[in-house]
C-alpha cells in the first residue's frame, strides 16, 4: 500500500519539478500527487482569491490539475517552469469562472484578507514562504497606478478593455500601463533575488 501522505513518497522526493512532470506524462500517479502536494495549496489560494467561493475554487483547482495530468506530455520545458504552468492554468480557469459567473469581483488585495486561513504547515513550501514575502514586498513598492492595474487584471480578472472602461483610460494607455507594471514587477523581483523563472521549491534542478 503506497503511503499517500503528502510529501512522503521517497521515490519522488529527490526529483525536480521537470522530472515530476516528465513522469506524470508517463502516467505516474505518485509524481502527479507530489506536484499537487507542492502546488495545490498555492493554486487553491489563488483560485479562492479570484473566485471567492470555496467550492468553485476547488473545482477550478481540480480542473487545472486534470489539465496538467492530461497535457503533461505536451508541456515544453523551453516555455518555463512547471510551477508557472500550473499557476497559469489555475489563473486562466479561475478568471474564466468569474467572467462566466459574473461574480462580484474582489478588487483590492486587502479586501480578501478577511477570509485568510491559517497557513498550511507544509515543510516543502519553505521556498514558497520566502517567495511570498518577496512578491508582496515587490507589489508594495510598485507605484499605485501600476499596482492597481495588476490587481484588477490578475486578481479581479478584468480584461484590458474592461480595465479601459473602469479606469476611464484609452485602451492604448491600459496596454502600455500593464506593460510598464509587469516590467517594473519583474525588475523588483529580480532585485530581491527572486527569479520567477526558477523553481519555487527546493528540489534538485
Amino acid at each position: 500500500m503506497t503511503d499517500r501522505r503528502p510529501g512522503r513518497d521517497p521515490s519522488t522526493e529527490h526529483l525536480s519539478d521537470h522530472g515530476l512532470l516528465a513522469l506524470t506524462a508517463r502516467g505516474d500517479r505518485d509524481a502527479f500527487a507530489r506536484l499537487y502536494d507542492m502546488y495545490g495549496g498555492a493554486a487553491y489560494a489563488l483560485a479562492l482569491r479570484i473566485v471567492r467561493d470555496r467550492e468553485l475554487s476547488a473545482d477550478v483547482v481540480q480542473d487545472a490539475f486534470l489539465t496538467v495530468w492530461r497535457q503533461a506530455s505536451t508541456f515544453d520545458p523551453a516555455r518555463g517552469q512547471p510551477s508557472s504552468w500550473i499557476l497559469t492554468l489555475t489563473h486562466h480557469k479561475a478568471v474564466d469562472t468569474v467572467r462566466r459567473e459574473q461574480r462580484r469581483r474582489a478588487e483590492a488585495l486587502d479586501e480578501a484578507r478577511e477570509s485568510v486561513d491559517p497557513a498550511p504547515a507544509v515543510e516543502q513550501q519553505a521556498w514558497q514562504s520566502v517567495a511570498r514575502d518577496q512578491v508582496r514586498s515587490a507589489m508594495a513598492k510598485l507605484p499605485d497606478p501600476h499596482r492597481e492595474v495588476l490587481e484588477l487584471a490578475y486578481f479581479a480578472g478584468y480584461s484590458q478593455s474592461e480595465l479601459a472602461e473602469r479606469l476611464a483610460l484609452p485602451i492604448g494607455t491600459v496596454k502600455s500601463r500593464t506593460f510598464a507594471a509587469m516590467t517594473a514587477l519583474r525588475e523588483l523581483l529580480a532585485q530581491s533575488g527572486l527569479n520567477p523563472e526558477h523553481e519555487w521549491n527546493t528540489s534538485t534542478s
Binding site: G41, Q62, H91, S115, A119
Partner: protein, 218 residues
C-alpha cells in the same frame, strides 16, 4: 515584423480579447525574442499568485483528484508528442533520477578521498525531502548531499541535529546550497538522530527561525 511586447503583458494576465490573443500566438511562433519575453512575463504573472492570501485546500480535493485521473494501474502512456522547440523532456525524465544517484556516489567518493574514511564506513544513506540525502559514517560524521537551489539573498541554509529522544535542535552549520551541495555537518550525529535543514534569515543562528526545508532521521 513588429514585436508585441505590450500585448504580451496583457496575454500573461489573461486579459486580451480574442483578436489580440491570436496576434500574440501567431507572432511568437516565429519570433524567438518575443517567445522569451512571453515566458518571462508568464513567470512574473505566476509569481503574483503568491501575493494571494494563503488558504488550505479542502483535504478531500486530493482524493477527488486522484480518483478523477483514473485507476491505479495505468496502461503504458501514449508516446508523448515531440515538443516543438525542444528535445529535452526525454532527457530530463531519465537524467534526473540517474543524476540523483550519481551525485550521492560522487559525494561519498569525494569524502572517502578527503580523509581516511573508507566506503565501508558509510553507515546509512537516508533520503531527505527536497534536498537529496544524508550520508552518515561510522565515526558520527554526517554529510548532506544533493541539490538545493542557492539560498535567496539575505538567507542561508542551516543544518540541525536533534539527538534521539530529545527535542531541541542543535545547530550544525550553515551552507549556501547550490546544485552540487555536499555539506558535512559541524556536529556528529548517530543512528536515530533527526537531521533538519531550514532556510534561515541572515546568517543563521543558534536556534531555528526559518521554515523547514527537509528533515530525516538517520
Amino acid at each position: 515584423m513588429e514585436h508585441v511586447d505590450e500585448l504580451i503583458s496583457g496575454y500573461a494576465l489573461h486579459g486580451l480579447d480574442a483578436a489580440d490573443e491570436r496576434l500574440v500566438l501567431e507572432h511568437v511562433e516565429t519570433c524567438e525574442r518575443c517567445r522569451v519575453q512571453l515566458r518571462e512575463m508568464e513567470a512574473v504573472a505566476a509569481a503574483l499568485a503568491f501575493a494571494a492570501p494563503q488558504a488550505e485546500p479542502p483535504p478531500e480535493l486530493r482524493e477527488r483528484l486522484l480518483e478523477a485521473i483514473g485507476p491505479e494501474v495505468v496502461p503504458s502512456a501514449p508516446p508523448p508528442p515531440r515538443a516543438r522547440w525542444s528535445w529535452w523532456p526525454r532527457v530530463s525524465a531519465v537524467a534526473v533520477p540517474v543524476l540523483g544517484l550519481a551525485v550521492i556516489a560522487l559525494a561519498v567518493w569525494n569524502i572517502s578521498l578527503r580523509g581516511d574514511i573508507k566506503d565501508a564506513d558509510v553507515r546509512s544513506v537516508a533520503p531527505i525531502a527536497n534536498v537529496g540525502s544524508v550520508v552518515s559514517f561510522g565515526g558520527g560524521q554526517a554529510t548532506v548531499v544533493g541539490g538545493l537551489k542557492p539560498a535567496p539573498a539575505g538567507h542561508t541554509y542551516e543544518a540541525w541535529v536533534i539527538p534521539k529522544g530529545e527535542t531541541v535542535p542543535q545547530a550544525a552549520g550553515t551552507f549556501a546550497g547550490g546544485n552540487d551541495t555536499s555539506f558535512t555537518l559541524t556536529r556528529n550525529a548517530s543512528a536515530g538522530d533527526m537531521i533538519v535543514i531550514t532556510l534561515e534569515p541572515g546568517s543563521g543562528g543558534p536556534a531555528p527561525k526559518g521554515p523547514v526545508v527537509g528533515k530525516t532521521s538517520i
